[in-house]
């Protein structure tokens, strides 16, 4: 993207991977994977994170800069940092049949509308 002349900014919650990959501009939020722009149904916090990201977009002037935002997932419970992305962390995947049934249901729902 950058080589094609388009400036980029990448959110991240994985600091070590981002340091290895070195994207042009990155904004780090120390939240569990799957919440890079905030927890569900908290529009205020999500808006603050995305607004901060847009500010960082303008502020970063040298390649591979990582801006770390100060947001804390839960000040009273940091156990997610021990369990995130470890064995047993993913919910059990539905069977192939169950997944196909869910997909068929989704397709049918939007075809009806």
């Amino acid at each position: 993207m950058e080589e094609a002349g388009i400036p980029t900014l990448c959110m991240t919650s994985a600091l070590d991977i981002t340091r290895s990959v070195k994207p042009p501009r990155a904004v780090f939020v120390n939240f569990p994977l799957g919440h890079q722009t905030g927890p569900p149904n908290q529009p205020e916090l999500q808006r603050r994170i995305v607004t901060d990201a847009m500010r960082a977009f303008a502020a970063i002037s040298s390649p591979a800069t990582i801006v770390e935002l100060p947001y804390v997932w839960d000040p009273n419970d940091r156990t997610w940092e021990d369990t995130d992305y470890t064995k047993g962390w993913m919910p059990v995947a539905p069977s192939r049949e169950a997944a196909d049934a869910l997909e068929a249901e989704r397709q049918a729902k939007f075809r009806r509308e």
């Binding site: 993207m1 991977i17 989704r106």
Partner: protein
């Protein structure tokens, strides 16, 4: 303390050949040529977001979906095997902050949100596939849309 994901990935997939993370020595960098408040900003999420009856993603899938920026929350769904998607299913803004970016557009924080936004399923083993197959198609999309800047949200 930030979680060390590289060693955890190694542990999680210890039965497989160790995954080789991309280690870039240098970083291309294109400066923004105008204020963010005047930029047309395109957005992509690797969270596996689909609009209405768009086909579901599958493993090793390097395709992407165009998501109209005025999509309603109930028109979005999520498929990804690599992170717990429950919260993103409840509120896609966790990994695909479409409503938030529309608000920033309305508030004048950004110039314009490029329509459509994009999503793919980021659990793609091959970095080459992403670099040589997926990324060039997205570059073409952004050029056609006259995007000034690109906002990427991984999941």
């Amino acid at each position: 303390m930030p979680v060390a994901y590289i060693p955890r990935t190694r542990d999680l997939y210890s039965d497989f050949t160790p995954y080789r993370w991309v280690e870039n020595e240098s970083t291309p960098f294109t400066p923004l040529t105008k204020p963010v408040a005047e930029c047309a900003i395109a957005m992509i999420s690797s969270g596996g977001i689909m609009y209405r009856d768009q086909p579901r993603f599958h493993r090793e899938d390097a395709s992407y979906r165009r998501i109209p920026i005025h999509a309603r929350p109930d028109e979005l769904s999520v498929w990804h095997f690599g992170y717990p998607t429950g919260d993103a299913e409840r509120d896609a803004n966790c990994v695909f902050p479409l409503e938030r970016m529309r608000e920033l557009e309305a508030a004048g924080v950004i110039g314009r949100l490029v329509d459509p936004a994009f999503s793919f399923m980021g659990g793609i083993y091959s970095a080459r596939k992403v670099r040589d197959e997926l990324a060039p198609q997205i570059v073409d999309e952004l050029k056609r849309a006259h995007a000034d800047a690109f906002f990427l949200v991984p999941a």
